[in-house]
């Protein structure tokens, strides 16, 4: 029988998934699809069939095989996420979905996200994307999962519980509150495209994560 993975290994796999999905939503760089294919191949060996979102993962892997050329990717990225006649068609930022930019609320929300990162001990560096960008938020979750994996490994129950609480809060107050709307917007705009495949798998993954993290906290005795 396939050996049951332990929670440290599961957390490490989740870390890798967040990181890969975050990269997929950054502006495309040279060799991106090759790197994503390599990452997906590696992650496939990490017991992914034990995750509820696996059917969506299979669809993503299939899309990855037929991913557009890098030039096409770059054009599509700009068209969907970066600019356009009336601005981006599907802005990949939390503030766009939750605030009215004209009222100055966007800046407040972005500042709150930045504050959230600092409270978690993170400082966004090496990225030109705003703090409320999907890729940045996915990277933050990747960082939390890395901490979780280390805490499981060290058998530090309190630390594990604390990290899970941080993940739960971040998902429920940030990523999961708007990513579904973003994915739905991409679905309606990029009907057969690569970014539809990416946002759909990430949406499924985030839904799974919200449920899994809360259930795990419950199992550990959190109220």
């Amino acid at each position: 029988m396939e050996e049951e993975p332990e929670w440290a290994a599961i957390a490490a796999t989740r870390q890798g998934l967040y990181r890969m999905f975050g990269r997929a939503l950054l502006p495309p760089e040279d060799g991106l699809t090759e790197r994503l294919r390599a990452a997906a191949e590696y992650l496939e060996t990490r017991h992914l069939t034990r995750f509820a979102f696996y059917p969506h993962w299979l669809a993503f892997r299939s899309a990855l095989l037929d991913a557009p050329t890098e030039a096409e990717l770059a054009t599509t990225y700009v068209r969907l996420f970066a600019s356009g006649v009336d601005g981006a068609l599907c802005p990949p930022t939390e503030s766009w979905y939750k605030t009215d930019a004209r009222g100055g609320e966007s800046a407040e929300l972005v500042a709150a996200v930045e504050q959230h990162y600092r409270a978690l001990g993170f400082v966004p560096i090496g990225t030109a994307e705003p703090p409320d960008h999907a890729a940045t938020q996915l990277e933050a979750m990747s960082g939390l999962c890395a901490r979780e994996a280390a805490a499981w490994q060290a058998r530090q129950d309190h630390e594990t519980a604390a990290v899970l609480e941080s993940e739960d809060q971040f998902l429920r107050s940030r990523l999961a509150t708007w990513f579904g709307d973003f994915a739905a917007r991409v679905r309606g705009t990029d009907r057969n495209g690569w970014y539809r495949a990416v946002t759909e798998v990430v949406d499924a993954y985030v839904v799974q994560e919200v449920d899994l993290v809360r259930a795990l906290r419950g199992q550990m005795g959190a109220s």
Partner: protein, 481 residues
């Protein structure tokens, strides 16, 4: 559609293997202990039915193998091999039903999967948190949900308080939810779905079992959390998330689809552990009343299984008999099957209703029509300029939302009688109330229905000046003056 049926061969006798060799069932030794055979089938199948030993397999392992085979675990019916020990004919019929159910699986969305940790402790789980398996949970389609009109039907029936109405939308807490399906069968618009027990899949399963059986079968709706036990005397299990979700039309629809008898088996011998026994009792009670009214033996539907002694009723084609708002069609089908022509059946489990409006106390505010999730109640101006409220009993699900929103309910302005009224159903849409409208002196637009003006006048009896101001001009002209 290719549906594979895999059965764990542990404990299966040689003669039984010979019998099964000629069937669609593939017997695989040690399947419960090592479910890799599921994945080995790979792309050769589009669906799967498993016959396993419930106390020997690890759900998370089996689900992983099902996913690896490219299938959705929430769409794989599982039969307990122990339940059919020595009853190969029963197994054959159950497999036919499960295959039909798997074929009708509509697919699930990420929102439908809820992780649950095993309650059974294993030696391994004593030292670590075990891995969760996933069960099917309800999800809401916001496009068809009527919360925007104020509907709170799901909020009212959920025993776990998993639903909350917040500013025109339903907030669903999956953590709280212990999927019982009450919300699914209560939702007036069919906006809530649980892919593990869809109307189409249930109907397909029952119909297939009735066709596959050599004689009469009884359908036993059994709670998904109940321990599997062999049922004697021609009964076949149809698993549902909780028997509290059963409604009278489901019991009757099963009879119309070919089952000779129907029973409801809660999760334990002492009843439903969510306290939903009363809901199941209401459903069974109303189904029995309907049968009796149609001159059919009421004991075809019962709370406990006895021997299956009846012949099936004549099969009657009914479109989507388990679907939302199918009740009127099912009752009409029952009448056809029974060859009777009756007037009405009354009781708490009706799931159909007749709305009555007291013309003396209704102010024609039309909040009931705005609230009505199914459009059974509608309001609008008619040719002579008056405002009318009309009602179509065929669209009413007896959800009582109209009663909840009526500001004059304490004065008896509106009521819903939970009954199946064939005369009313045949009559179709009828006008319940009408009121002339008071028009604005300045612009001629409606100010309010006369009935409402009259009520406001009663309330403002000692303030004639204010009343005069309110009645002469519409809101827009009052603001302009």
């Amino acid at each position: 559609m290719t549906i594979a049926v895999l059965m764990c061969g542990d404990g299966v006798q040689v003669e039984d293997r010979e019998f099964l060799a000629g069937s669609a069932v593939q017997v695989i030794d040690g399947l419960c202990r090592d479910p890799k055979a599921v994945t080995a089938l790979g792309e050769k199948m589009e669906g799967l039915v498993l016959v396993v030993h419930a106390d020997e397999f690890a759900p998370a392992d089996v689900q992983a193998q099902i996913r690896a085979a490219g299938l959705d675990p929430l769409g794989v019916p599982m039969l307990d091999a122990a339940e059919y020990d020595g009853d190969l004919e029963g197994l054959r019929v159950a497999v036919a039903g499960s295959v039909a159910r798997a074929e009708a699986f509509p697919g699930s969305a990420p929102a439908h999967a809820k992780p649950v940790f095993p309650s059974r402790l294993t030696r391994r789980s004593l030292f670590m948190i075990p891995e969760p398996a996933y069960i099917a949970a309800p999800a809401i389609d916001p496009m068809t949900c009527a919360a925007g009109d104020g509907c709170t039907a799901c909020v009212g029936v959920c025993p776990e308080k998993a639903y909350e109405w917040v500013e025109g939308r339903i907030v669903y807490d999956k953590d709280r939810c212990e999927p019982c399906g009450r919300c699914v069968t209560t939702c007036p618009t069919g906006a809530i779905s649980n892919p593990a027990a869809t109307p189409r899949a249930l109907a397909a399963q029952i119909e297939a079992m009735a066709v596959a059986a050599d004689g009469s079968i009884g359908v036993a709706f059994r709670c998904g959390r109940a321990e599997a036990r062999p049922l004697e005397g021609g009964w076949q299990v149809v698993e549902v998330p909780c028997t509290g979700m059963i409604i009278a039309p489901w019991a009757l629809a099963s009879l119309i689809l070919g089952a000779a008898q129907v029973t409801v088996l809660p999760c334990s011998t002492t009843g439903c552990d969510r306290g939903l026994d009363a809901a199941a009792e209401d459903a069974v009670g109303f189904a029995r009343a309907a049968l009796e009214a149609c001159g059919v033996a009421a004991d075809r539907v019962a709370l406990a299984p006895s021997l299956v002694v009846h012949e099936p009723l004549p099969a009657v084609p009914v479109d989507d008999p388990f679907g939302p708002r199918s009740a009127a069609r099912v009752y009409a089908g029952l009448q056809t099957a029974a060859g009777t022509d009756i007037a009405r059946i009354t009781g708490d489990g009706a799931t159909l209703g007749i709305v009555t409006i007291d013309q003396a106390t209704c102010t024609m505010c039309t909040m009931c029509t705005q609230m009505c999730p199914t459009g059974a109640l509608t309001g609008g101006y008619v040719d002579d300029g008056s405002l009318a409220i009309s009602f179509d009993p065929g669209d009413c699900t007896a959800c009582d939302q109209c009663v909840g929103v009526c500001p004059e309910v304490e004065r008896g302005a509106i009521a819903v009688d939970h009954r199946v009224d064939f005369l009313a159903l045949a009559a179709g849409r009828v006008e319940l109330n009408r009121s002339e409208t008071h028009t604005c002196e300045r612009c001629g637009q409606p100010v309010a229905p006369t009935a409402m003006m009259s009520r406001i006048g009663d309330i403002l009896g000692d303030e004639p000046a204010l009343m005069d101001q309110l009645t002469r001009l519409c809101l827009a002209c009052r603001g302009a003056s």
